[in-house]
């Protein structure tokens, strides 16, 4: 029952609830925005910690592997122009341009039977990478987050100018006046 592997989610949840509590209880609008940001960062952690693989490395091909890979790809291209590609027919450069993007195309990951995360490249890249997909999602989320934060702050400034306060109850009291 008690698996020690889920502590990362617990930290995320604690932070999430701290942000949530700030948003609920604090009347100050700027404080609410800070609370929302804390909440947001905790969601980032949730995703990033899911994508981490123990023993993995950052999703950038290391230099030594890279030289090997680049050399191989160029070889495929040169040979492919001469006719027979040296690698199997699933080598990308050997395919016609539209070959992979036909609407009906489905990719069947052949990696399903082997342990994921230890997928080896065709070029014998032995590196284990962490999952790059959550990184991409969160990268997008961070930038959208700063955009929305700035919009919220701008609204705070406008509210201050109109009402003279950024405390929630005072704004409500002003609204209730006829």
């Amino acid at each position: 029952m008690f698996s020690p592997g889920v502590y990362n989610y617990w930290v995320v949840i604690v932070l999430m609830m701290i942000g949530f509590y700030t948003v609920i209880t604090r009347g100050n609008l700027v404080k609410k925005i800070i609370g929302l940001n804390v909440f947001q960062v905790s969601v980032f952690w949730l995703y990033i910690s899911m994508g981490k693989i123990v023993g993995g490395t950052a999703p950038i091909t290391p230099d030594d592997v890279w030289e090997h890979l680049e050399h191989d790809v160029e070889e495929v291209q040169v040979d492919g122009q001469n006719g027979e590609p040296p690698h199997a027919a699933n080598s990308y450069a050997a395919l016609p341009r539209e070959g992979r993007y036909e609407p009906g195309f489905e990719y069947h990951p052949p990696a399903d039977d082997e342990p994921a995360g230890q997928v080896t490249h065709e070029y014998n890249d032995p590196t284990v990478y962490s999952n790059p997909v959550p990184h991409v999602l969160i990268l997008t989320a961070i930038v959208v987050g700063v955009a929305t934060t700035s919009l919220g702050l701008a609204l705070c400034v406008r509210i201050k100018e109109e009402y003279g306060t950024i405390e929630e109850d005072e704004i409500q009291a002003l609204d209730d006046e006829p």
Partner: protein, 201 residues
Amino acid sequence: MVLTAVAIILLRDLFAAVMLWGIFSLLSAGLFVVMDAVDVAFTEAAVGAGISTVLMLGTLTLVPTREKATDRHFQLMPLLICVLTGAALIYGTLDMPAYGEADAPINKHVANYYIRESPRESLIPNFVTTILASYRGYDTFGETTVVFTAGIGVMLLLGGKAKRRGGPSAAPPVKAGAGDDDDHGGAMATAAASASREDAS
């Protein structure tokens, strides 16, 4: 980190809270590096600890910097709601895959395809860049549009005509260096600014 977050709630001085938010952001950037997300850490450090904090400080020059003390500070009900929600979520995590497990469902699907194929399809070593701009190009396009829209929104909210309210405003620290009207270039810049404002309004 959790301590920083708790301090953010307890502090009533908004300046201190904003600076703590910057520290919180920087710490989380460090943690992202530990979790192998270098691109995300880079962005978080630049955005959270940089621009976002600066924008909050810019806001604090325009609004009161002290949070008013209210009697709402130790309400039982919100705390109860938070604890209950948190407990429910923690109960949910018991079914989650363990941290760093390579066989987790998230690592089973499309990520393997990206890792295997993207260096060969684009000759770019950084998977994150390839996925961001090529495989997920639509997402990034939509996201750029969101940033665009937010920029337009803030400019409409703040760049408009309310500028001529007149009257002395509290001197914000941001404009401490803005008093250099000794050169005639400043007048030109002001003219350009007002011209663009008229366009906007």
